[in-house]
C-alpha cells in the first residue's frame, strides 16, 4: 500500500491544493467542518466534523438566477456555477454514503438538478477510515463499514504512524500517480475500528413502518420535539429546500436555501390548508422519510448512522431509540 508519514500529510494537501480546490476538516470556532485547505491551519482528524460536507454540493443558500424588471418587462439571467475541479479530503463512511443518497435525489428519477450536478461531477472524494467510534456513532448498524467509504475515489487508512492510500476508482489512481513522489510503499496494517458502543437493529424496520402510519407511537415520540429543525440542518442526508427571492428596486435574484420538514410553513398552502399541521405529522414524516419512504423510492435508508442528530438534539430525540420503539411496537 502507498502511504505517507502522518507528519507530512499537510505537504500532500498543499501540493493537491495547487491542482484542485481542496476541502478538508478543520475546527472553526470550536465547530468541526469542511473548509478550503489552508496551509497555516491544523487539520481536525480526531473525530468527524459536526457539520457534514453536504453544503459543498448543496450550499445552505445558492443563487439560481437574476432578474430585472422595467415596467411590464422582465429579464431573466441564469447564474452560472463556476466549474472548478475540487477534492474533498477526509470524508468518513457515514458522510460518503450520505452523498450517495443525495446523488439519488438530485441526479435520478427523471430530472437532474443542474446546480448539484455541476459541483458533484467536478469533485473527487477521499474517504477517511474511522478507528474510533464516537459515543453517538452507529454507522455499522446501518450497514456501513467505517473503514471503507461507499463511492469514494480514494480511501485513506490509519496505519498508526502513517496514512495509507488505496485507490477505488481510476480518478483515485490518478491522484496517487500525481503525488507519487510524496508517497512510499509500506507493509503496515490498518488499525481496526473499535467496538461501537451504540448499536441498533434496523432489520425489517422499513417494511414494518409502512404499516405504522396510524400508530399511537407518533403522538408520544413527537411530544418533546421543539420543532427547532437542528436535526435536519446537521443531517448529512436531509436535502429539502425552499426557493425564495431577494428584491432591490427593479432587480433581484432568486435563490434556494435549506428548508426543514420540521417547520409548519413547510407544507402550508396559500389557502391555509396544511397537510402536516402539528408536530405529530411532521416528526412522523421525518422518521418515515428516513426509514421507510426513501427505502421505497430509492432502495436505501436515508440515515447513515452519523449520530449528529442524537448528539445535538436539545431534547435528546434519538433515532436509534425510535428504531427500537418501532421494532417493539405492536402492529395489527
Amino acid at each position: 500500500m502507498l502511504a505517507i508519514d502522518k507528519k507530512r500529510l499537510n505537504e500532500l494537501l498543499r501540493n493537491m491544493s495547487r491542482d484542485f480546490r481542496v476541502y478538508a476538516p478543520y475546527l472553526e470556532n470550536g465547530t468541526g467542518k469542511f473548509a478550503p485547505y489552508r496551509e497555516d491551519r491544523e487539520l481536525y482528524l480526531e473525530m468527524n466534523t459536526l457539520l457534514p460536507p453536504k453544503d459543498i454540493f448543496f450550499p445552505q443558500t445558492e443563487k439560481m438566477y437574476r432578474f430585472r424588471t422595467a415596467g411590464s418587462a422582465l429579464e431573466i439571467e441564469e447564474i452560472e456555477d463556476k466549474k472548478e475541479k475540487q477534492v474533498i479530503f477526509g470524508i468518513r463512511s457515514c458522510d460518503a454514503f450520505s452523498i450517495d443518497c443525495l446523488d439519488k435525489v438530485f441526479l435520478s428519477r427523471g430530472y437532474e438538478d443542474a446546480f448539484y450536478k455541476n459541483k458533484r461531477e467536478n469533485t473527487l472524494l477521499v474517504g477517511l477510515a474511522c478507528t474510533a467510534a464516537g459515543d453517538t456513532c452507529f454507522c455499522r448498524s446501518m450497514g456501513l463499514n467505517p473503514q471503507e467509504a461507499v463511492g469514494v475515489d480514494l480511501q485513506v487508512l490509519d496505519l498508526g504512524e502513517e496514512w495509507g492510500f488505496e485507490a477505488r476508482t481510476a480518478a483515485g489512481e490518478g491522484l496517487l500517480a500525481r503525488y507519487r513522489d510524496l508517497l512510499r510503499e509500506t507493509d503496515a496494517a490498518p488499525i481496526p475500528t473499535q467496538e461501537f458502543k451504540l448499536k441498533v437493529d434496523v432489520e425489517g424496520v422499513p417494511e414494518k413502518l409502512s404499516r405504522m402510519f396510524d400508530h399511537p407511537m407518533w403522538e408520544e415520540i413527537s411530544r418533546k420535539c421543539l420543532g427547532c429543525a437542528l436535526c435536519t440542518y446537521l443531517c448529512p442526508t436531509c436535502h429539502c429546500f425552499d426557493v425564495s427571492g431577494k428584491v432591490k428596486g427593479e432587480e433581484g435574484y432568486r435563490f434556494r436555501c435549506w428548508d426543514s420538514c420540521m417547520f409548519s410553513e413547510y407544507t402550508r398552502m396559500a389557502g391555509g390548508h396544511n397537510p402536516r399541521p402539528t408536530k405529530k405529522e411532521r416528526v412522523r414524516n421525518r422518521f418515515m422519510h428516513k426509514l421507510c419512504y426513501f427505502v421505497e423510492r430509492y432502495g436505501q435508508l436515508l440515515c447513515t448512522g452519523c449520530g449528529r442528530c442524537l448528539a445535538k438534539c436539545p431534547v435528546n430525540m434519538d433515532i436509534t431509540a425510535v428504531i427500537r420503539k418501532i421494532k417493539e411496537a405492536e402492529v395489527e
Binding site: 430530472y111 443542474a114 425552499d242 426557493v243 433581484g252 432568486r254 428548508d259 396559500a270 422519510h289 419512504y293
Partner: protein, 271 residues
C-alpha cells in the same frame, strides 16, 4: 424549456379573463408569442412574478400559442397576479406531473365532477376530449359553486359545452339566488340525485366536496380504479427534489397530481 429545470423562461401574459370576483384566467405565451411548452391535460406549470414569488398551478387549457391558467386570489403571488395587466412578463416553467391517463380514458363514457376553482384542471381534460370527440363515449359534467358569481368558465358551461354532441352539462349553486332558474344543491347531493350508472369519473374541488363526492360515488357503486382526482400540495421545485409535496414515498409534482382513488387508498391520508 430551459436546460436547467429550476430556471424559468420568460413568458408574457397576453390575455386576462375575469371569471369570478376572485378568479382570473391568465393566457401565457413566451415573449416571442409561442406556446411555452405543450402540456398533457392535467399537467402543471410553475408561474412566477420573480419580484413576488413562484407557485405551481394547473393548466386549465391551451391554444396553439398559449397556455391558460385559472388562478384564484388566495395569497401573496396570486394577489400580485390579480393586480397585473395584459402584457405583463412573467416566468414560466414546466410542464410537471403525470397528467390524466388519456389512453385509459379512451372509448369510455366519462363523468366530470367539479366544484369552485376545482374545475380548472378538469377543464383541460374536458377540452381535450371535445377536441378528440370521436375517441370518447358520452360525457357528463356536473359543476357547482357557492353562487352564480362564483361559477368559473361560464362561456364553456352555458354556451360551448352544451352544444357538444353527446355531452350533458349540469350546473348547480349552493343556495337559491334571484334570477337563477338552474339547479340548487351541493355538488355531492346533485351527483346522487342524477343517479349516474357507474362509469369512469374525474373529480376535483375543495377537499370537503371531494370527500362527500367520493362517499356518494361509493354508494352508487363506482369502482375505486375508475375514480380519478387531482391533488394540490405546496411545491417549490416541481421536479421531485425539494421534498415538501410527498404523500408517503410519492411526490405529487412528479408522480401526481393525478391519482385514482384506488392508488390514494394505498397512500397515507396526508394531503
Amino acid at each position: 424549456m430551459n436546460a436547467n429545470p429550476l430556471v424559468p423562461i420568460r413568458g408574457r401574459i397576453i390575455k386576462i379573463v375575469q371569471e369570478t370576483p376572485d378568479v382570473k384566467t391568465f393566457h401565457v405565451s413566451t415573449v416571442d408569442g409561442e406556446k411555452p411548452f405543450a402540456p398533457k391535460p392535467g399537467q402543471l406549470a410553475m408561474l412566477s412574478l420573480p419580484q413576488t414569488g413562484e407557485a405551481m398551478f394547473s393548466i386549465t387549457s391551451q391554444g396553439p400559442n398559449h397556455l391558460e391558467l385559472a388562478i384564484k386570489e388566495v395569497g401573496q403571488l396570486t394577489g400580485a397576479l390579480h393586480q397585473v395587466e395584459e402584457g405583463q412578463e412573467c416566468g414560466i416553467r414546466g410542464p410537471y406531473g403525470n397528467g390524466f391517463p388519456l389512453d385509459y380514458l379512451k372509448g369510455k363514457d366519462l363523468l366530470f365532477i367539479g366544484g369552485g376553482i376545482g374545475l380548472a384542471p378538469v377543464r383541460s381534460l374536458i377540452n381535450y376530449c371535445i377536441e378528440h370527440r370521436a375517441d370518447f363515449g358520452k360525457m357528463h359534467v356536473v359543476y357547482g359553486a357557492r353562487s352564480v358569481a362564483d361559477l368559473v368558465f361560464k362561456e364553456d358551461l352555458f354556451e360551448n359545452w352544451p352544444k357538444v354532441e353527446n355531452m350533458e352539462v349540469y350546473t348547480t349553486i349552493d343556495r337559491p339566488e334571484e334570477g337563477w332558474t338552474g339547479h340548487v344543491a351541493f355538488v355531492p347531493a346533485y351527483v346522487e340525485e342524477l343517479a349516474f350508472k357507474p362509469m369512469t369519473t374525474v373529480t376535483c374541488g375543495p377537499p370537503i366536496m371531494i370527500k362527500f363526492v367520493l362517499q356518494a360515488l361509493a354508494r352508487m357503486g363506482f369502482n375505486d380504479a375508475d375514480v380519478i382526482t387531482t391533488l394540490e400540495m405546496r411545491m417549490k421545485c416541481g421536479i421531485g427534489k425539494c421534498g415538501r409535496c410527498n404523500i408517503g414515498s410519492l411526490y405529487v409534482c412528479l408522480d401526481g397530481p393525478v391519482f385514482t382513488l384506488e392508488q390514494l387508498k394505498k397512500l397515507p391520508p396526508e394531503y
